[in-house]
């Protein structure tokens, strides 16, 4: 019989392992439309519930304290989301990737801009925001949606509050 502390920790780790394996399989077999933070959150919830069901029916002699297992799993998921979003969206990681595959690990600024142009950076982001309904397009011009306007107002207010310059 293992201690409740160990079984609770193992429960969270098992739920995370199930999430990660499903995530890898789904990301490798599906198209770009499926991949995103929303799907990661959905997979995380499904994985936790699945492991809880397995535990309830098959392993209920192991004590699992969900008041500790759920926060630990949520923490692991938040850490993973940091990593995922960072790798997916970071300009710096993209630049480092371009340099890593370049001959001798070096590129001129012009070569780098050819491989990863400002135009691409903007278009990629705008496309994502249109798909997520943050921006609305009409005749090649973009306007913010209602939810984006609210977020923009909050961002401006917070930047002023913290004294952050308006750059990015």
């Amino acid at each position: 019989m293992i201690s409740p502390a160990l079984s609770t920790t193992l429960f969270s780790l098992l739920a995370f392992a199930l999430f990660f394996s499903d995530h890898v399989i789904l990301w490798r077999v599906s198209g770009a439309g499926v991949k995103g933070v929303k799907m990661i959150i959905l997979l995380a919830v499904a994985s936790y519930v699945a492991v809880a069901i397995i535990h309830y029916f098959l392993l209920n002699n192991f004590v699992v304290e969900h008041y500790a297992a759920l926060p630990f799993f949520a923490f692991l998921m938040m850490a993973y989301l940091h990593l995922y979003v960072g790798v997916d969206r970071s300009v710096s990681i993209r630049v480092l990737g371009e340099l890593y595959v370049a001959v001798d690990g070096r590129l001129s600024l012009d070569e780098l801009r050819k491989n990863y142009s400002g135009d691409h950076m903007i278009r990629h982001r705008v496309e994502l925001m249109v798909n997520e309904k943050w921006l609305e397009e009409a005749n090649g011009f973009f306007r913010v949606s209602r939810k984006a306007a609210l977020l923009a107002r909050i961002t401006i207010a917070l930047k002023k509050l913290y004294g952050i310059d308006m750059g990015g």
Binding site: S90, L99, Y162
Partner: protein, 165 residues
Amino acid sequence: MKLLVITILSAVLIPLVHFLLAHVYKLQYSRAIAMLGAFAVYFIVCLSGAFYFGKPGFLCYMAVCSTAGFFCLGYMEAFSMICRGFSLHIMVDVYESKSLDIEGIKMKYGAGKGIDWLFNKRIANMRELGLVDVGGGILKIRPLGALVGRAGLLMKNGLKMGAGG
């Protein structure tokens, strides 16, 4: 359960202490240090709560520390987005201009500084962090940068995430 509610409610301390440290104590030269200070205060409050009100034991501390860690990481991500979030800044630029096309977004980016400014700023940051060397218009990756670049590519290829960025 009571302990988790206290930990969740105490999360409001993070922005408050961060703001106070950054402004009252003039830590504006490094908002990151002020943020770490806010996290430290939050953890101290949560662990004190666990010590006084909770069942002493591993699970109790695990629940409190995980919840506190969850909020700290969430705040870090939100604050990072406000400071450096590319998409969020495009959204703010479009909001302030009412309507913009792609060329307009490129020129307006970062309160009119433009997309080249962002690119140069990121390269300067990578240089400061010792990830790349820059000289004569050439970027050369350093060992730490190669490690990060390789790890990023491994994850992108493993998950078929595309080029990203």
